[in-house]
């Protein structure tokens, strides 16, 4: 649980799952209320009443039909009349709002007498009769009427039928009543509505559960999606941090070349860039510090050597001169030898004193006296002393208020020019580029087209006392590096054997850093 990944995932899960309970309750409540809108007792009673009213209306219609049939039979006198009488009786009843809509008088045939032959007479019943003889099925309408009068209704209730068989004869009178189709349709709609209502009531719990499960499934899918996304995001956040932590450990263990290789935008990218930049700067400062410490050690050696050599030089010189002056002998050969020896010793002593002075100068390395000025102008002035030096990119100096120690930088340039000229005894060209700004640094290059530096020497050329020239002291480039380091900068060398060497000086635009106390004391 301590890892950032776990925390992020748990947090996302909590955020995704927290609304589950209130949402579930809300959904449940909404579903209940939605069903209650339609599935309530009032609605149920209304539907039941509607169906009951339809049924009552139908029963009433059946009763009226039965009554009308009986009344007609009374009118007919209970005997099969001629057709004219039936028609007349029906017409007279029609004026009273009779439910009788037509009749057929037909001969009954068949063994049971239940098959009707071609109608002998009909009234407003041709269509009805056709329907009757079609596939229409009838059910007996319980009317309480027995005997020779029977009532039927069609299964679709569009037709009421009464059959009357007179006491004698084989003819049969069929009386019809058409039901109002709109009444039937409305009644069927009511029945269908009630069935739907009953079904919904029955399945209400299941439907609610179904909707609720749907919600749960969708919500669950969202939570799973949120979990997957949170895992992905957490992984993407945690990976750079993990690698950053590992990188910090590597750097702490001394692997200064470690760099994070994580591609990413936003804060992660900035963090990775900042880490890499920080490690690079730290490495740079560390190397500079090491160089400065080495240089300080070399300076101490130089100081000690200068001190140890300088002290006996004067007595040696005085002694040998005294020896020469005190000789009173007549041997001209010996006198000449003495004079020659005195001269040689004097010259060697003078050479040693020069060396001691150089050691002393290297050992002293006074504190920088920083002033704002133009490094380019200084380089131009120094270059004027060397006819071999040409300057390229002599554009307007962008750093006319650059903070540096002019004296130290003059020595740097003189040493570099001297070194370049010395490397080209047969002549050549020294090229200096004007000072340029790059990456917060002032950059200047000094190059020659001399023999170049062999690769095995390149790493050591800035070490004190390392020289490939017989008359060199090996202190020139060491002093150059020392001065550049004191300015907070760096010097690098690029060389190709047979093509030449270029020194690149980089100084911070902000100027030299404050010297550490230890160095000041040194």
């Amino acid at each position: 649980m301590k890892s950032i990944r776990s925390r992020l995932v748990v947090m996302c899960l909590v955020v995704a799952a927290l609304p589950a309970v209130p949402l579930a309750l809300a959904v449940q409540s909404l579903l209940d209320k939605t069903f209650n809108v339609g599935l309530n007792e009032t609605m149920e009673e209304a539907l039941k009443s509607g169906v009951a009213m339809s049924r009552d209306a139908w029963d009433e219609q059946c009763a009226r039909f039965a009554g009308d049939v009986r009344a007609l039979l009374v009118d007919l006198g209970g005997a099969l009349p001629d057709s004219g009488r039936v028609a007349l009786a029906m017409k007279s009843r029609a004026s009273l709002g009779s439910t009788l809509h037509g009749f057929v008088l037909a001969r009954a045939t068949g063994a049971a007498g239940d098959t009707l032959d071609t109608p002998l007479l009909s009234f407003s019943a041709n269509e009805t009769y056709q329907r009757l003889t079609g596939n229409r099925s009838f059910i007996t309408k319980p009317s309480g009427t027995g005997g020779d009068l029977r009532l039927f209704e069609s299964t679709d209730r569009s037709l009421l039928l009464a059959t009357w068989t007179p006491p004698a004869g084989n003819e049969r009178l069929l009386l019809f009543s058409q039901t109002d189709p709109s009444f039937l349709r409305r009644a069927e709609d009511l029945i269908a509505a009630r069935q739907l209502f009953a079904t919904l009531q029955l399945t209400r719990a299941g439907l609610t559960r179904s909707f609720f499960y749907s919600f749960v499934v969708i919500y669950g899918a969202c939570v799973v999606l949120a979990l997957a996304l949170s895992l992905l995001i957490a992984e993407r956040i945690a990976t750079p941090i993990r690698r950053l932590s590992a990188g910090a450990g590597m750097v702490a263990a001394g692997d200064w070349g470690y760099r994070l290789d994580i591609r990413g935008g936003g804060e992660t990218g900035h963090l990775v860039d900042a880490f890499n930049d920080m490690v690079a700067r730290l490495d740079d400062q560390r190397r500079r510090l090491v160089d400065m410490e080495k240089m300080a050690a070399w300076r101490e050696v130089a100081r000690h050597l200068a001190h140890e050599i300088k002290n006996p030089l004067l007595p040696i010189r005085l002694t040998i001169e005294e020896l020469r002056d005190q000789y009173r002998g007549d041997d001209p050969a010996f006198r000449a030898l003495l004079a020659e020896s005195t001269r040689v010793v004097g010259e060697e002593v003078e050479q040693l004193q020069r060396l001691v002075r150089q050691f002393s100068e290297f050992a002293k390395m006074p504190e920088l006296e920083v002033r704002a000025g133009s490094l380019d102008a200084l380089a131009h002035d120094v270059a004027a002393l060397y006819p071999q030096v040409t300057t390229t990119h002599a554009a307007a100096d962008p750093l006319d208020r650059f903070p540096f120690d002019p004296e130290a930088m003059r020595r740097v340039l003189i040493n570099l020019y001297d070194n370049a000229v010395a490397m080209m005894p047969a002549g050549g060209t020294v090229v200096r580029t004007s000072v340029q700004c790059a990456d917060g640094q002032a950059v200047m290059r000094v190059g020659d087209n001399g023999p170049g530096i062999p690769p095995e020497h390149r790493a050591r050329i800035f070490e004190p006392y390392f020289t490939t020239r017989r008359e060199g002291t090996g202190l020139g480039l060491a002093m150059v590096k020392n001065a550049v380091l004191l300015h907070g900068g760096d010097i690098a060398v690029e060389s190709t054997v047979g093509a030449g060497t270029t020194f690149i000086i980089r100084l911070p635009l902000a100027g030299p850093p404050p010297a550490p106390a230890a160095h000041r004391e040194a």
Partner: protein, 217 residues
């Protein structure tokens, strides 16, 4: 203090679960008695049951929708080996126009004036045929296990209601969206198509030894 609290909580949950199970069991139909006998060379049963019809089922039948009563049976011998399994089905209908009820059983329709009468007839079913005696081994004690279930919505009625719900839910959205993103209708169909019926537990009749049939000439 924590352990007693936890024990109390677990006990409470267990009690609630048991109560819920009991309540559900009480709401289910129950067969209370089964008598096995023979009639016309056939093994028949009289089944007495209770709690078949809930108010909602009655409402459904009264609205004109048919309800199906299914009886599942299995004949087992004394070693509990199953000798026969079967299903006996009946349908209850209501003629809304004439307010009469019909019980369709063995292809015969019996008419009743009220639902109470139909209910009484179903809750005491007599002479339910099980199997011919000739199919039984001689001198074997058998028992008949019965379970009864009532399905107020079967077949097309159920499809109809699911279709209606589908229409109400999916009517507003485009078909493409439904098909491609998340077919909620299908989900609802699957969930709500679960049977709305209620089934009793199995009830085993007392052991019965059928009479040995005389050899036919």
């Amino acid at each position: 203090m924590r352990r007693p609290l936890m024990i109390t909580a677990v006990a409470a949950v267990a009690w609630l679960a048991a109560a819920a199970t009991e309540a559900r069991a009480a709401a289910r139909p129950q067969i209370t008695r089964v008598d096995v006998t023979t009639m016309n060379s056939e093994l028949v049963c009289t089944i007495i049951s209770t709690g078949l019809f809930t108010e909602q089922v009655v409402n459904t039948v009264e609205s004109g929708l048919p309800a199906v009563v299914e009886l599942l049976y299995r004949v087992v011998d004394s070693r509990d080996h199953s000798l026969r399994r079967g299903l006996y089905s009946m349908e209850i209908r209501c003629d809304v126009w004439n307010n009469v009820y019909a019980l369709v059983r063995d292809d015969t329709s019996y008419t009743y004036a009220s639902f109470a009468l139909v209910s009484a007839a179903v809750e005491r079913l007599e002479q339910v045929p099980v199997m011919p005696l000739s199919a039984l081994d001689d001198a074997t004690d058998i028992s008949v296990e019965w379970a009864i279930a009532v399905y107020p919505l079967r077949g097309k009625e159920q499809e109809s209601i699911v279709g209606w719900v589908q229409e109400q839910v999916g009517g507003q959205s485009s078909r493409t969206w439904r098909e491609q993103v998340l077919n909620i209708d299908d989900l609802i169909r699957r969930l709500s198509s679960k049977d709305t019926g209620r089934r009793s537990a199995w009830f085993r009749s007392p052991s019965y030894r059928p009479p040995v049939e005389k050899e036919r000439p």
